[in-house]
């Protein structure tokens, strides 16, 4: 693992990996959309509105997954000072924020016809909204300091503290009375969702996961280049300053 924490080695590996991730991602998402929209049955209660689930549920899983990986990356960045840890967390944050937003948006569109409300302040919805604000806060903190290293550390502390929200989101529907229904797929007694609906959902989730890996690698490469440009610029200014002096 430590071997790949080296930026140059990471770059070489990333170039090789991208096509192997990007093509399956496109394939899974198009197949998932086709199955979800055209080749899966309507629900006995929700009718066609159930199709929103094929976007909503994978987005929610990604929102939680990305936040968890981000926190772990930040923790290892603070403790072991891995050179890529903070960069990967910074690269992941906007992707996670987008998935959280997608989850909130599709949930709202589903909520109006099914529940009768765009939004309610129950434990599940509120905790996911907090997750969205945690992502935004993380991104904002990164930009709040002139010295990127200080921004990195403050944002990392926020990400680590915010991890407490992840189990709260997951178990909110079991701990408290909520309007949001309990888990259908990830539960101990097995999925409560018919296989004809489960397969498109899992294919979509795989597609989202692959898509996330592609965007993460691309963003990490860009951020590393950005850092190198910054260092080169600083060196440049320093050199011109010293030559002028002589």
């Amino acid at each position: 693992m430590k071997k790949y924490a080296n930026p140059a080695r990471f770059n070489r590996l990333a170039t090789k990996l991208i096509p192997w991730l990007a093509w399956p991602a496109g394939l899974c998402i198009s197949l998932g959309i086709f199955l979800g929209l055209f080749n899966s049955p309507p629900d006995y209660q929700q009718g066609e509105t159930v199709r929103i689930m094929y976007i909503h549920v994978p987005s929610a899983w990604m929102a939680l997954f990305i936040y968890t990986t981000m926190s772990i990356a930040c923790a290892s960045g603070l403790v072991w000072k891995h050179p890529l840890a903070h960069i990967s967390a910074r690269a992941a944050a906007p992707i996670g924020a987008c998935f959280t937003f997608l989850c909130l948006l599709t949930g709202s569109l589903w909520g109006k016809p099914m529940w009768g409300a765009w939004w309610v302040w129950d434990a599940r919805l509120t905790s996911v909204l907090i997750l969205f604000f945690l992502y935004l806060g993380f991104i904002a903190l990164h930009h709040a300091f002139d010295d990127p290293a200080r921004g990195e550390r403050s944002a990392a502390v926020l990400a680590i503290v915010g991890i407490i929200n992840v189990p709260i989101i997951k178990f909110s529907v079991d701990w408290w009375n909520t309007l949001h229904q309990p888990a259908s797929v990830l539960k101990l007694s097995g999925p409560e969702i018919h296989s004809t609906m489960l397969y498109p959902l899992l294919i979509m989730a795989t597609g989202f996961m692959l898509y996330f890996s592609v965007i993460l690698i691309l963003r990490m490469r860009t951020l590393m280049l950005e850092r190198r440009i910054r260092i080169m610029r600083i060196n440049n200014i320093y050199q011109t300053a010293t030559t002028e002096k002589n």
Partner: protein, 150 residues
């Protein structure tokens, strides 16, 4: 002890403190977090807020829903299979509202024991299946009220 190790233990102890703090806070404000009370809570709990509006959740009792002939006032009974609450609601109800369905209503209990609702939300359960499967379950007798027999 190396500096890395010391930082690691510091992080772990911070996380443990954070978890305890969060658990204490969430237990303390449990009543505020809950989205709705059950009819049993409304009947048995002494400190239920009477002045402000509250939410009650439960199943719509079978054969209790009186659809309005004229006007828009719906009357139905919400039950948690222990206590029943008669609800009166004037307005448009959600699409998936039906008898046996989980619902959450917002309103307050009037003096004559009727719960005057100003908002009705349908609560969806965690089961997803095609209509044919639901029919087959009903025919084979594995369908019980709002739950599938395990």
């Amino acid at each position: 002890m190396t500096r890395k190790r010391r930082r690691f233990y510091f992080l772990i102890s911070c996380m443990i403190t954070l978890c305890i703090a969060a658990a204490l806070v969430l237990t303390a404000i449990e009543d505020k977090i809950t989205f709705f009370y059950s009819p049993t809570d409304l009947v048995l709990k002494k400190n239920m807020p009477r002045a402000q509006q509250i939410r009650i959740g439960g199943l719509v009792k079978r054969d209790s829903w009186k659809k309005p002939f004229n006007g828009l006032t719906h009357k139905f009974i919400i039950t948690d299979l222990q206590y029943d609450i008669l609800v009166s609601f004037k307005g448009i109800i959600p699409d998936i509202f039906r008898e046996g369905q989980g619902v959450v209503v917002l309103g307050r209990l009037t003096e004559n024991g009727v719960f005057q609702a100003s908002e009705v939300l349908a609560k969806h359960d965690e089961r997803y299946m095609p209509p044919e499967v639901a029919d087959a379950l009903k025919q084979s007798g594995k369908w019980e009220g709002n739950k599938v027999k395990q």
